[in-house]
């Protein structure tokens, strides 16, 4: 047992990586699903144990293949990665039970094993980014997860899915290339790729324009991955046309991992006085504010619920960017909290929308009138997720917005406070639009005979919906972990 314990951090990445090709050659769709589910559950358990170990024992350093860092690749896990890894693995483990029916409905049967193989590869990439302590290794995992997600998106039912995947491919590749260019520039100045080593050697070369340029390339590349406004343009299409399960998965995990990566770069790799001497935090505040307002406005005018939620995601990423831009422990802590809570609420909402698509085959605003009355449980989950998105007290969304406002107040950033509040009001409007269509508009004749979604879809949806309420009331766990993670990150700057 101890032997496995020691390799836990590696297993988290290796298990999905090894299982992916095995899943691909499994003969039956349901068997493939079952194996994928097992892998996801194992990963979630491993991530849980890892976080537990770290909370009780402090950071873990794992040397890949026994090569000591900085020559070998090091996996360095502290409260921040462990927290994000648990979010990723946990959401995946919740998404997979949901996937069984939804995927069977949306994807041709012979492609299903490939679908789950890609799914596991994507999971492997995302977990890898959270685990590794080597910046080139980050690039590798970034590409693994991105390539897998291009494939996943292209499996959508509509023809536009192909275009969207292609667009995402172009953009994702540009982002990854930027990242790689940046890494190359930094490497040329420091001769190392290890996070901790970089942090040590960079101060000596801070003045070099090369470092500044490298930093800019890395940050912009990651900003594109996390869909920071206005680099979000690939996201609405990708989310709209991807299979529902993929949308749930990407919305709840992919952008979150990118945000994590951004935090690492800004606060761990480039420490001390370098980052504060660049305009990066102003950039984040400006783009965050613009993202909250403009993406929310876009969301209001969308006619497709998935697309509406996608724009809302861009707005929510704006909140996270704002938290980063505040560059204080409170701000980063709010960002981490929102990372978790947004995964909960968007997960619940996209799952509920998926249930509607499962029954109706579409989720256009003009097709769903009155559906809330025949699908009361789905509708209930939409309401809870929507309230959480708006930030009603008693839901998870309130907690993170609350801390974000406190963080902004701390620095007397009144404009940011006002923007957060206005953003919530805009969220009321677009959530209200969904609820109005689902419940208050006269039911379409065709919608009256539709049945409630099957239990297998409802259970994961409601688990997430109830988690929204649970973490809105009991904040000890989330706030505790987020606070210690934020202190770890910011400890270097203040």
């Amino acid at each position: 047992m101890m032997a496995i314990q020691g390799h836990l951090s590696l297993l988290l990445v290796v298990v999905p990586l090894i299982m992916a090709p095995i899943v691909a050659i499994l003969p039956r769709a349901r068997l493939a699903w079952f194996v994928a589910l097992l892998v996801a559950v194992v990963c979630a358990l491993l991530a849980g144990i890892q976080l537990w170990n770290i909370v009780n024992g402090g950071a873990i350093s794992y040397e890949l293949g026994g090569w000591a860092p900085p020559w070998g690749i090091e996996y360095r896990i502290d409260a921040v990665n462990a927290f994000v890894a648990l979010i990723v693995a946990g959401i995946t483990a919740l998404t997979l039970p949901y996937a069984l029916l939804s995927v069977e409905k949306e994807i041709p049967k012979q492609q299903i094993p490939f679908f789950y193989a890609l799914f596991l590869l994507c999971l492997c990439g995302l977990l890898g980014i959270t685990q590794t302590g080597d910046i080139f290794n980050v690039f590798v995992f970034l590409e693994i997860s991105a390539l897998a997600s291009y494939g996943l998106i292209s499996l959508g039912r509509h023809r536009q899915a192909l275009t969207s995947a292609y667009q995402y491919l172009i953009m994702g590749t540009i982002g990854a290339t930027f990242f790689l260019i940046g890494v190359g520039l930094i490497y040329s100045q420091t001769g190392t790729l290890n996070f901790a080593d970089l942090a040590e050697r960079l101060p000596a070369v801070f003045e070099h324009k090369t470092v500044h340029t490298g930093f800019a390339f890395i940050v912009i590349g990651v900003a594109l991955k996390l869909a920071l406004f206005p680099l979000h343009l690939w996201l609405p299409n990708a989310y709209t046309y991807a299979p529902t399960v993929v949308t749930i998965f990407l919305a709840a995990t992919a952008t979150k991992v990118a945000v994590y990566l951004m935090l690492r770069i800004l606060f761990t790799i480039f420490p001390d006085n370098f980052v504060v001497n660049t305009p990066i935090f102003d950039l984040f505040i400006i783009l965050g504010i613009a993202g909250i307002l403009i993406a929310s406005l876009y969301a209001i005018y969308q006619m497709d619920i998935k697309r509406l939620l996608a724009y809302s995601s861009v707005a929510q990423i704006g909140y996270m960017a704002l938290g980063i831009g505040l560059a204080s422990t409170a701000g980063v802590m709010a960002t981490l909290l929102h990372l978790f809570n947004h995964a909960l609420m968007k997960g619940a909402l996209f799952m509920a929308v998926g249930a509607i698509i499962y029954r109706l085959g579409s989720c256009r605003m003009d097709n769903i009138n009155g559906l809330g009355r025949v699908m009361p449980w789905t509708f209930g989950a939409v309401i809870i997720g929507g309230l959480s998105l708006v930030g009603i007290p008693g839901t998870a969304g309130f907690v993170s917005k609350w801390y974000l406002i406190l963080a902004a107040l701390e620095q007397q950033a009144w404009i940011s406070v006002a923007v957060i509040l206005v953003g919530s009001l805009l969220a009321v409007v677009y959530v209200g639009k969904i609820i109005e269509a689902l419940y208050f508009k006269a039911a379409l004749e065709a919608n009256k005979s539709i049945k409630e979604a099957p239990l297998l879809l409802l259970l994961p949806t409601w688990t997430l919906a109830l988690a929204n309420i649970y973490f809105g009331l009991n904040t000890e766990l989330t706030v505790g972990v987020a606070t210690s993670a934020a202190q770890l990150l910011i400890g270097t700057i203040e």
Binding site: Q160, M171, K209, H212, P230, P236, P279, P393, N474, T475
Partner: protein, 564 residues
């Protein structure tokens, strides 16, 4: 066990309502207030403080003293009577909303800090609006929305005020706040909206008459009384409340007299009665505060009784316009009698409950030398008698015979009304029991010669005035009409101005803009052929524009970073 907050009982009952049906569900609805009330009466002592930590705050979910306990008893009682009255209702939404609503009111009065108060404040709004929507008409839907907007704004103001208050003082405790600084004003206005201060009152007269028969009975009991309680706790003795209270007591009279919808008349008279309470709170002496609280107690019961009797008429006849009713005493004699008890109580006849509480406020005014305002209040008292004491029973049950023949109200309604009527008389005749529950020590007895005589004179002369005006046909006749007061601002004026502005803007656009923009058009025409514009006009943005943005951001950032 004695620290169990009573709202939990109500919320558990609400969950039970979800899974039960028929008789059992009715029993749950009935037993929740009974158990809650007994729990409060026997188990709960003043002085309990129970808190629950959430985020970084200690939320005080249960804080008892004599003031909150009195409101606790009152809300359990009101919810019990309303549940009997609503016994025949099968609609799950209404039953659920009623329970959650009553539970939230209890939660609010036992809340020991502003955040807990805010949570229940919003829950009150969210649950009660379903009682309006349950009517199912287009009007009620719109009225419910306007109601919800008012209530949510009130909640937002309360939250903003609470946060600033916390920022300034470092405490969230809900005790005396006093009017100093922006935080207290925000909280004050939040309370004011729920309390139906003049100009902030229109949600009440707008939504209450549109709610269901039983819904209005619930509504009349809780929202404004929670606000009265909050004012009594947070702002007692603020002189501005005296003037606000007097205004509240006086202005609704005019609207009530010309209003045709009898439930809307009652809604106006609700504001008028709350005016007496607000005045009492503003005076702030022990006697006045006791008077305000006692008046809240008796008002819930007699106003509930009046709303119930009008509800019974609406239930049987399907119409509540004074102009269409009349002569109903022939077919609804019991309802008539019970309504009269309510009418006598609200008019403050000696031996009825209104008298023993209102006279406390009036005496306190005299003691504190508010002479002119006292005269205005006297006028308001006469006005109450006019519109609520005489007009309601007169136009519904007597007046000219409209020819409507219907049945007596259902038994459960009669029981509920009978209970309320009995309480009205009991409190009026034996006030010492209510007085002993009041939060402040005061030695007061309403039945002395001057009081009784003055009140009777007032009542008889205003009755005389009514008779005379009616005989001379000078009393405003009951007409089919919709009267708008302050709502006119946002239901008529603002939309009109808005439309005018829009029209104006359109005109401006047509003339000025088209002229000046002609060259711009030309440019934009050429521009629209460029690739950049195409990206912005299409729904999905082409890949090129994404690359464009990433280049822009990178270039700008590098420029600023390296050259700044």
């Amino acid at each position: 066990m004695n620290e169990l907050p009573p709202f939990i009982l109500f919320f558990v009952a609400a969950l039970l309502v979800l899974v039960t049906r028929g008789f059992i569900r009715n029993l749950v609805l009935l037993m929740a207030p009974v158990i809650g009330g007994l729990h409060l009466w026997f188990n709960v002592e003043p002085g309990i403080v129970m808190s629950h930590s959430i985020l970084t705050f200690e939320l005080v979910v249960m804080r008892t003293d004599k003031l909150s306990l009195l409101f606790g008893y009152l809300f359990c009682l009101a919810s019990f009577i309303s549940s009997i009255y609503a016994w025949h209702i099968k609609d799950q939404t209404q039953q659920l909303a009623g329970l959650v609503y009553a539970g939230s009111a209890l939660g609010a009065v036992f809340a020991g800090d502003l955040i807990t108060l805010f949570i229940f404040w919003e829950l009150l709004a969210l649950s009660s609006v379903f009682l309006v929507w349950a009517r199912g008409t287009e009007r009620s839907f719109n009225a419910g929305f306007r109601y919800l907007i008012f209530q949510v704004v009130s909640g937002v103001l309360l939250l903003a005020g609470a946060l600033i208050h916390y920022h300034n003082t470092g405490s969230l405790a809900f005790d005396h706040i006093g009017l100093e600084g922006i935080a207290s004003w925000l909280i004050f206005i939040a309370f004011g909206i729920k309390c139906a201060f003049p100009f902030l009152h229109s949600w009440l007269t707008d939504a209450y008459p549109e709610a269901t028969v039983t819904g209005t009975v619930f509504l009349s009991a809780f929202t404004t009384k929670v606000a009265v309680y909050s004012l009594a706790r947070g702002f007692s003795g603020e002189e501005i409340l005296v003037y606000i209270g007097v205004a509240m007591a006086c202005f609704p009279i005019f609207y009530a007299v010309i209003e045709n919808d009898l439930r809307k008349v009652l809604a106006y008279s609700l504001i008028n009665q709350v005016g007496f309470m607000v005045t009492g709170i503003g005076i702030g002496t022990a006697l006045a505060l006791n008077g305000a609280v006692a008046h809240a107690f008796s008002d819930v019961i007699f106003k509930g009784l009046l709303f119930m009797s009008m509800g019974a008429v609406l239930y049987r006849v399907g119409n509540i316009n004074g102009s269409d009713l009349g002569g109903l005493y022939k077919s609804m004699p019991r309802t008539t009698a019970l309504c009269l008890v309510g009418a006598l109580s609200i008019s403050a006849f000696p031996l009825f409950s209104g008298f023993i509480s209102k006279s406390m406020v009036m005496s306190a005014m005299i003691e504190e030398n508010f002479d002119y305002l006292w005269l205005l209040m006297l006028f308001a008292s006469a006005g109450v008698f006019h519109h609520a004491g005489i007009k309601i029973p007169y136009f519904a049950f007597f007046a000219h015979d409209s020819g409507i023949r219907t049945q007596e109200a259902p038994t459960n309604m009669l029981i509920a009304m009978g209970l309320a009527a009995a309480l009205c008389i009991f409190i009026g005749a034996q006030p010492q029991y209510l007085y002993s529950l009041l939060p402040w020590e005061v030695d007061y007895w309403p039945y002395d010669t001057t009081h009784v005589l003055a009140q009777l004179q007032l009542l008889f002369f205003s009755a005389l005035a009514f008779v005379w005006l009616n005989k001379k046909c000078m009393y405003p006749p009951e007409l089919h009409s919709t009267n708008l007061d302050v709502e006119w601002l946002y239901r008529k004026l603002v939309p009109k101005i808005f439309r005018q502005c829009l029209y104006f803007l359109q005109q401006t656009k047509k003339s000025v803009v088209s002229m000046t923009l002609a060259p711009v058009h030309k440019i934009s025409h050429t521009f629209s052929k460029t690739s950049v514009a195409k990206y912005h006009l299409s729904e999905s943005w082409p890949t090129g524009s994404m690359v464009f943005w990433i280049a822009i951001i990178l270039a700008l950032y590098l420029l600023v970073d390296i050259f700044a």
